[in-house]
């Protein structure tokens, strides 16, 4: 018995880095994470969810204010949830990624770690409970988020290009 029989006819979406996905309809959202972090927000009352995939922790004022940056991506995702009619106190968050997968000079910048910190800090500020997480480490991750059930399936992957 599968935990979500809906998966047979549910729509799927592949989430690219720097993008954001939120829909009132049920979706399975797949994404691949290295040092990037994805925050999945889910409202168990309305059974809606959304997910982002950001590459860097904070927007420094350069370039477009896109969800490539954690602070923008998280704020925008929360806005989406609220626009669906979710109440902030009902929203649950799950965070994934932030692995230090690239053993190079970029380690100096601890991008993965800082991405995780950003998610934790901002979610705390917005008073959104983190109900699940798999962050850090050296491996990349593939995740599949079911926006209807809030369930996230995760697999570790060895090689990671992001």
């Amino acid at each position: 018995m599968k935990s979500f029989s809906l998966s047979e006819d549910i729509k799927t979406h592949y989430l690219y880095p720097s993008a954001l996905f939120a829909d009132k309809e049920p979706y399975l959202v797949d994404t691949i994470l290295g040092s990037c972090v994805a925050v999945c927000l889910y409202d168990p009352v309305l059974k809606v969810g959304g997910i982002n995939h950001y590459m860097l922790p904070l927007w420094n004022g350069n370039g477009l204010a896109s969800p490539k940056y954690g602070n923008i991506a998280i704020e925008k995702l929360i806005e989406h949830m609220l626009s669906f009619g979710s109440k902030k106190e009902n929203i649950q968050a799950k965070i994934f990624g932030g692995g230090e997968v690239v053993e190079t000079a970029t380690n100096m910048f601890r991008i993965g770690e800082r991405n995780i910190e950003t998610a934790e800090k901002l979610l705390r500020e917005f008073k959104i409970k983190i109900s699940g997480r798999s962050v850090g480490g050296k491996k990349g991750r593939k995740i599949r988020f079911n926006t209807f059930t809030g369930v996230v399936l995760m697999k570790y992957i060895e090689k990671q290009s992001e």
Binding site: K2, N52, G63
Partner: protein, 299 residues
């Protein structure tokens, strides 16, 4: 009992510590001031941006409406006049279309909706068609801007490359538009495309006003125009390059700029070949996600 020397040593060390923390405090203070300044700048640029955009949308529409009204009421014998007015309408609409494309693309990127749509694309034709749409504008500015359309031998034939054609088109349009905008009269623009190490490269070279070294870093900033005065002769709101940069990011491309004040600029983009997604929204690495509730971790 502590000797006087020891006491002096201890005092010295404490003083040093205090100085150090004062330094750190000073540094952090400085950072705060810088960030504050950035915020203030962003705010003023934002209002400037809105007034700029208003000008750039409202004014062309006013011209288009006026000119088309003239055409409607013109006599049939005034064919020459009508043609001139139609040309003016075309160039106003062309500019408007281009600006709106940038604005809407920026909005999509900022909303996190920009997804790469990789398709087998004929590069030669794509670059050619962008150049074609700008031929009129180049002539119109009476700059004698000449395109020396130098494509590599390889690209002379049909060359297919997996990439997002719409994004590439807008990126090249922005580069070409800028090079026309910042070219001096009677100069030329060179456009070259080639493939090197599996990267698609497109170079746009102008002999225009160029960019100062210290300004090179800020040209991708949103709202930023180096000559930000409202009375500047050059229209535009500085969105083009930040849009191009974000689009390049989304297809893993990079941009390289070599520029010298009053000599000219060379913009070169490099784009790796993408993997064509047969079905929109599937795994990038070609491997299907195989999830099994028994094996995978569930959160």
């Amino acid at each position: 009992m502590l000797s006087n020397e020891k006491i002096i040593d201890e005092l010295k060390q404490r003083l040093l510590k205090a100085e150090k923390s004062e330094d750190l405090f000073e540094k952090q203070n400085q950072q705060m001031i810088e960030i504050n300044q950035k915020l203030a700048d962003a705010e003023s640029l934002k209002s400037h941006f809105i007034s700029n955009i208003t000008n750039e949308i409202v004014n062309p529409f006013a011209s288009i409406l006026g000119l088309s009204r003239n055409i409607i009421s013109a006599k049939e014998s005034d064919f020459k006049k009508i043609k001139i007015m139609a040309e003016l309408i075309h160039s106003e609409a062309f500019e408007l279309d281009f600006q709106l494309k940038n604005i809407f693309t920026a909005a999509r990127i900022e909303a996190g909706l920009a997804q790469p749509e990789i398709i087998r694309t004929e590069i030669n034709q794509l670059i050619g068609s962008v150049v074609e749409t700008y031929e009129y504008k180049a002539e119109q500015k009476q700059l004698n801007v000449k395109f020396s359309f130098e494509l590599d031998e390889k690209l002379k034939e049909s060359v297919f490359f997996n990439t997002d054609p719409e994004k590439l088109r807008l990126i090249i349009s922005n580069l070409l538009n800028n090079s026309i905008k910042y070219s001096n009269a009677a100069s030329r623009i060179e456009l070259k495309g080639w493939i090197e190490d599996n990267l698609l490269k497109v170079m746009v070279k102008d002999y225009g006003i160029g960019i100062d070294k210290n300004n090179l870093e800020v040209i991708f900033d949103r709202f930023k125009r180096l000559d930000a005065s409202i009375h500047s002769h050059n229209p535009g709101h500085g969105l083009g390059l930040s849009v191009s940069k974000a689009l390049l990011d989304s297809i893993d491309g990079t941009i390289d700029i070599v520029s010298k004040r009053n000599i000219g600029s060379v913009f070169t983009i490099s784009i790796p070949e993408g993997i064509a997604n047969e079905k929109d929204g599937f795994a990038l690495d070609g491997n299907e996600f195989i999830f099994d509730t028994n094996e995978d971790e569930i959160f």
